[in-house]
Symmetry: C3
Subunit: 336 residues, 3 copies
Amino acid sequence: MLTLAELAKRLDAELVGDADQRVDGLGTIQSATGSQLTFLANPRYRSYLENTRAAAVLIPESQREFCPVAALVVKDPYLSFARATAFFETAPLATPGIHPSAVVDPSASIAKSASVGPNAVIDADVTVGEGAVVMANAVVGAGSVIGDQCRIWPNVTIYHGVTLGPRTIIHANCVIGGDGFGFAFNGAGWTKVHQVGGVSIGADVEIGAGTTVDRGAIEDTVIGDGVILDNQIQVAHNVVIGNHTAVAGKAGIAGSAKIGSYCLIGGAAGVAGHIEVCDKVQILAMSLVSSSITEPGTYGSALPVDTQARYRKNVARFRNLDELARRVRKLERLSD
Amino acid sequence: MLTLAELAKRLDAELVGDADQRVDGLGTIQSATGSQLTFLANPRYRSYLENTRAAAVLIPESQREFCPVAALVVKDPYLSFARATAFFETAPLATPGIHPSAVVDPSASIAKSASVGPNAVIDADVTVGEGAVVMANAVVGAGSVIGDQCRIWPNVTIYHGVTLGPRTIIHANCVIGGDGFGFAFNGAGWTKVHQVGGVSIGADVEIGAGTTVDRGAIEDTVIGDGVILDNQIQVAHNVVIGNHTAVAGKAGIAGSAKIGSYCLIGGAAGVAGHIEVCDKVQILAMSLVSSSITEPGTYGSALPVDTQARYRKNVARFRNLDELARRVRKLERLSD
Amino acid sequence: MLTLAELAKRLDAELVGDADQRVDGLGTIQSATGSQLTFLANPRYRSYLENTRAAAVLIPESQREFCPVAALVVKDPYLSFARATAFFETAPLATPGIHPSAVVDPSASIAKSASVGPNAVIDADVTVGEGAVVMANAVVGAGSVIGDQCRIWPNVTIYHGVTLGPRTIIHANCVIGGDGFGFAFNGAGWTKVHQVGGVSIGADVEIGAGTTVDRGAIEDTVIGDGVILDNQIQVAHNVVIGNHTAVAGKAGIAGSAKIGSYCLIGGAAGVAGHIEVCDKVQILAMSLVSSSITEPGTYGSALPVDTQARYRKNVARFRNLDELARRVRKLERLSD
């Protein structure tokens, strides 16, 4: 529970309205109640502003005159709202200490302010930093390092030889450090290439539920500082992802691919192995990057749906597209 | 073990054959043994009927004369077979009670007929309903509600603030209620939008292994009654899925998309964020829905494989398809 | 720590260099230190050879003269390197025995040399073979069989009625034996087809993190000997995968599809249900196999990315491709 005065101070906002009004949560501009904070960022939602019943609206200077309730005037309302969400987080706080049901190897070093949850398992020589939280039923393999203030959600598996920088969040059921997919064909079948590299993850990284990041074959797989990965992403062995790159859900990045900084990789997009994508590249959803990209910009390849009738006809034509192009060339020659 | 008379009664079928014949399991029409029940639904399999050795066949009226063994005549053999499978389920029954190795917060309310398995972890203020089963190593976060007769398979993670309606089944290693992928760019990196909404899942829902359903940013992510989700589906924050919609494996539904009722979403299909798909829409496998669909019907976009030689040629032509179309337009002008 | 003489002997290599030189690890040709082994397989890396500081290089006969350090001359350097990686595996060895925190049903049969890790749960009538390892927080369902020398990584869920052949490896958070996606439409919603088949996995199989293999509807889902599956693959009910087939990350194989032996299925590729793919077929990444393939060879369908401007124009043209082809036909008729 915060007053508008306190919110304005924390968010560096100009308050227009009752400084003592209390706020106990967040709402959308359409449905916020009289004790909730909301924001107006997208002009699309401007029509909702006049009827909002929110306690206050984070709003840009240009819209303040239209706000029927208290206004918190800021430069970037969505960014200010993001900051405000931290004050109303509903996730329970962790209690420092090791739950009696956790199994912690005596050689592990667990900071006093860290929390190890029920039935979590911490293997030999692991380090868990100050304020870090390893939640219920998570497993941390030998020698791995969980940085200060990290949060490892339940049922995560971290293999041996993984390092997480401070404040990194790993959501539930992720696997960090599983074996890369390395095999040599031996004439009759596959001989495993044991994966002796590790995984190095930077500071302030967030990894969504069910994402897998494989350990390196020889050297480490590397995820830079401030990278955000959504759910169910596959990061193969020896991938390098640059700082502050964002990857949307279900994307896959094949072995040894190198992605630059400040990239935006769309949902279910694929990046082929052994290629490089430079900084500030945006890949649209479900697109395939099969060769290196050296120029910043936006790239795509996925076809959007059409009605089944048109889709089937166009697909049939695609199968003969090369022939169609040759026929056009022939017509051009005839018309010359 | 059931007699054919009992089966006929339970399935509301007309029995042609020995009422006392016992059935102890299920088989395919090709390989069922003399004590197994099978069915004939797809006319493709008609040729197998004459040689079947099954104890009995669930069969439509039109085929009864061709059945060489006992017949259970029904309107919809596959639906009757589905009902029959419940009598032969092989999954072990759960024992009511809390396993001594489970860690259950004293504030949680666990029904007497519920079962909490070994090493499961139940956090504060959770409700587990009558007959519900939380299996081994599953984790249920603070304040979540597991409805009556729900079944939570092992290693599932349910975050705080998730509600499941009665008889809902969550298969192993699902994550329900992980943080949605919400971040605001702050000029140098990403500021997290803490996700304070929850997840609301209806009655009679089934969710396949490894699927992730994110919690809402502000309001809940909503999955309607009778929805069936296959494995490894990603449902992003604030998605709404209407009643009785079916989604096949590996599909992804981006943030705030709204899917209607009685839709069929194909395997690995993608639905973009902030769009609406109306009721009774079928999306073919691996297709991309990038804008709203307002008419029921079937839609697709994925290209099927071709030989590498033809594929490479056609792809090369696709890269110049716009130019090709312009060249055709030019030829048309010349021929006018 | 091995000497070059020992390595040469184990790898059946010809040693050119100091037999007593000790090797304590693996490195890439660019960065290996003076006590590490490396290899030269890809001619692309030939330029790095002259500056390598490795203790020794696994090298083909044709390149031995260019090796500035000790050479281990072999026929297939990558295969020999794969074999060598086993000597330097960094994964901790498991201790035989059942951890006191594990919950093992009294009817389960656990070999004396097997290891059951902390908080693992083993249900009734399970068999765990000699030297097999069930790691922390993994769950094995009733009646399942874990073959000799298998390794089940943490947080894996194996349902009831699953059989693993010897030496099979299941990486973390996999789900083997979850219910197939079988439902019959009952006019108002979906009636579950209870999945009473099991899963049969052969010998020497490796399954990557987060992969799901569903149990069969009536008969088993079958994965042959020596199959290698990468991370986050979905194998639906009653799929059959032939021996030594390799499937890359995020691929999906729909129900009752039958894949031959020695196939290579690319990342995020999709195989439709009820079709057959013959032996020795390679499917390129993100491609859709929607009908049976009867000839060995390479097949693909995914479009690679283009700049957004070109992509948007070409996609717009694709929507009218059938019409374009008709217009070309009309021009051809005019020019006849």
